[in-house]
């Protein structure tokens, strides 16, 4: 264990009451033990950057919170307010207000842009009406009748974010929303992110580009080998060069 880790160890939750609480969360892909006892809290309205090297378990942690089929939760607790998410199925977690925007976007093929949005409004609780989503992303409105998977990567990412907003979100889980996108598109999506931040939606954002993530985030969690290596404010991470070298390679 590094000196850095020892020194920074008191992984204290930020002040204020926790809204999302992960307690010793463990999950598996089949026999592989991946999320190895993750514990951290998130306040209501807080935006947390979930950082760490490739393979640290960021995606797996988000999927576990959303109660995806894989990786399956085997131990620990996940709380959303007073709701026990660890006892829910994937669709129940979604109805409780947890919305995953996966890293591969998972726009549904064979459906138009608008059908993808309407699909998201099938189960309660419903969020933004379609027209408001088109106001945020005019390109989606222009392409509403187009088969969604024929759009560019950036447009699909807009749809993935728009689809999340079509639901009434209590906790937004964003997995690498800027990944593989041209800088102009990143700008456009980042603008939407700040608009979402203005709405006060509690968010966990995973991003390879830690600097970009920390621009919008209030605080950071750094994962390493499937567990929490550091918990602190965004500024602390940006200022701590050793920490960045050790876990983020920036």
């Amino acid at each position: 264990m590094s000196a850095v880790m020892e020194a920074e160890r008191p992984a204290a939750a930020p002040a204020g009451e926790a809204f999302v609480r992960l307690k010793d969360v463990e999950s598996y892909y089949g026999e592989s033990y991946i999320v190895q006892g993750v514990t951290f809290d998130v306040k209501e309205g807080e935006i947390v950057a979930l950082l760490g090297r490739n393979g640290a378990g960021k995606t797996s942690t988000l999927k576990t919170i959303a109660r995806a089929h894989e990786p399956h939760l085997t131990a620990g607790e996940i709380w959303l307010g007073d709701q026990a998410v660890h006892k829910m199925r994937d669709w129940q977690a979604a109805r409780a207000g947890i919305q995953l925007v996966p890293e591969d976007r998972r726009i549904i093929g064979g459906l138009t842009v608008e059908e993808n949005l309407i699909l998201a409004q099938t189960a309660e609780p419903v969020g933004w009406p379609v027209d408001r989503i088109y106001q945020l992303f005019p390109r989606l409105g222009e392409r509403r009748r187009q088969e969604a998977t024929t759009m560019s990567g950036g447009e699909q990412q807009m749809l993935a974010v728009g689809r999340a907003l079509a639901r009434d979100i209590k906790l937004l889980l964003l997995d690498e929303p800027y990944e593989g996108l041209a800088p102009t598109i990143v700008e456009e999506i980042e603008k939407a992110m700040f608009e979402i931040k203005g709405l006060g939606i509690t968010t966990i954002i995973v991003e390879q580009n830690a600097v970009a993530a920390l621009r919008i985030a209030d605080s950071a969690v750094i994962l390493d080998m499937g567990s929490v290596a550091y918990r602190g404010t965004a500024k602390e991470v940006l200022d701590n060069e050793e920490l960045r070298n050790e876990y983020l390679a920036i």
Partner: protein, 324 residues
């Protein structure tokens, strides 16, 4: 082959295709959603046919039209919730064993209750008789009763059983209804999306498993419609389930596993192949040719399957990697 014979063989092909399609649509719908090949689907058809006989004897055929599909919907739901759902995470071989085993249990149960022979399925009074097709300028004697349809190209006039024509019509209505349901309703949107990416659809708060159970019920209900209208044509005996499962399964494979359009096209293709081989066999004069065609009649559907799958292993409209 003259046009009259061609036309009648064509209708026979459509009628065969209609039954194949009704069973195969259910099979491919279940595979496309739940990923299970339901080898008990022929048995569902058989249950429907027996139920239709019993209900039409006691209450009248009209009741059977409404009760049997509803009953089969429940049977399907029960089968999926009670048995098949426990096998989703198991290997394909286990799924085949359990559905095939179920088919055998149902077959033996029916044999035990109703005996091994055909039980007669009388057509309702309004459903018997022939439809007369007549060509342009043909004179049809006034005395011939029944429906008359003009058909350019026919020489004089010719007949086709009304019931078989009805079967084609019913099948077309079911196909159209299924298309509308899947393409233009919220339920259909969820099912189509769920076929593509059940995990993401679940992340949108939709209980996909429950929707797919309804799809299973729906597939069984379609087999129910097939049993009511097809029963009088295919006969009602404990072996008819398997007899129609095999070509219907071939239809699904030829059309491409999980493809509804593929099932439809392949059903008509196999129906035509079968009807025309029989038609040519009946016409053949040369004894060798007649013997050959008569033998071919038994295997022509397999032959078509072999040829299609050699050329295109994923089936006509199948997706790459699903079944290749």
């Amino acid at each position: 082959m003259e046009f009259n014979a061609f036309f009648l063989n064509f209708l026979t092909g459509l009628q065969l295709g209609a039954i194949y399609a009704l069973i195969a649509l259910g099979l491919t719908l279940i595979f496309g959603t739940l990923g299970v090949v339901n080898f008990a689907h022929g048995a569902l058809y058989m249950i429907a046919a027996y139920a239709a006989v019993l209900i039409s004897r006691s209450m009248g055929f009209t009741y059977a039209i409404f009760i049997v599909p509803a009953l089969l919907f429940l049977v399907g739901l029960l089968m999926e919730r009670g048995l098949i759902r426990w096998f989703y995470d198991r290997p394909h071989t286990d799924q085949i064993l359990v559905t095939f085993g179920l088919a055998i249990v149902i077959e033996e149960a029916l044999k035990w209750i109703f005996g091994a022979n055909n039980i007669p399925f009388a057509l309702p009074s309004w459903g018997s008789g022939q439809v007369l097709f007549y060509g342009l300028g043909a004179t049809v004697p006034e005395a011939i009763p029944g429906l008359r349809i003009p058909m350019p190209g026919i020489e004089g006039f010719t007949f086709f059983p009304f019931w078989r024509l009805l079967l084609i019509g019913v099948s077309a209505i079911v196909v159209l209804g299924l298309f509308v349901l899947l393409q233009f309703t919220r339920f259909g949107l969820v099912v189509r999306a769920g076929m593509r990416d059940p995990q993401m659809v679940s992340h949108l708060g939709i209980n996909v498993t429950q929707k797919f159970a309804i799809v299973f019920g729906l597939a069984a209900a379609i087999a129910g419609v097939a049993g009511v209208f097809g029963g009088p044509v295919t006969q009602v005996s404990p072996t008819v389930g398997l007899a129609y499962l095999v070509p219907s399964f071939l239809v699904v494979v030829i059309g491409g596993m999980g493809s509804l359009l593929g099932a439809l096209v392949a059903a008509v293709l196999l129906g035509m192949a079968s009807a025309f081989t029989t038609g040519f066999a009946a016409l053949a004069v040369d004894p060798f040719m007649k013997g050959f065609l008569t033998a071919l009649q038994q295997i022509v559907v397999y032959l078509v399957a072999v040829v299609v799958l050699l050329v295109r292993p994923r089936g006509l409209f199948g997706k790459k990697g699903v079944f290749e």
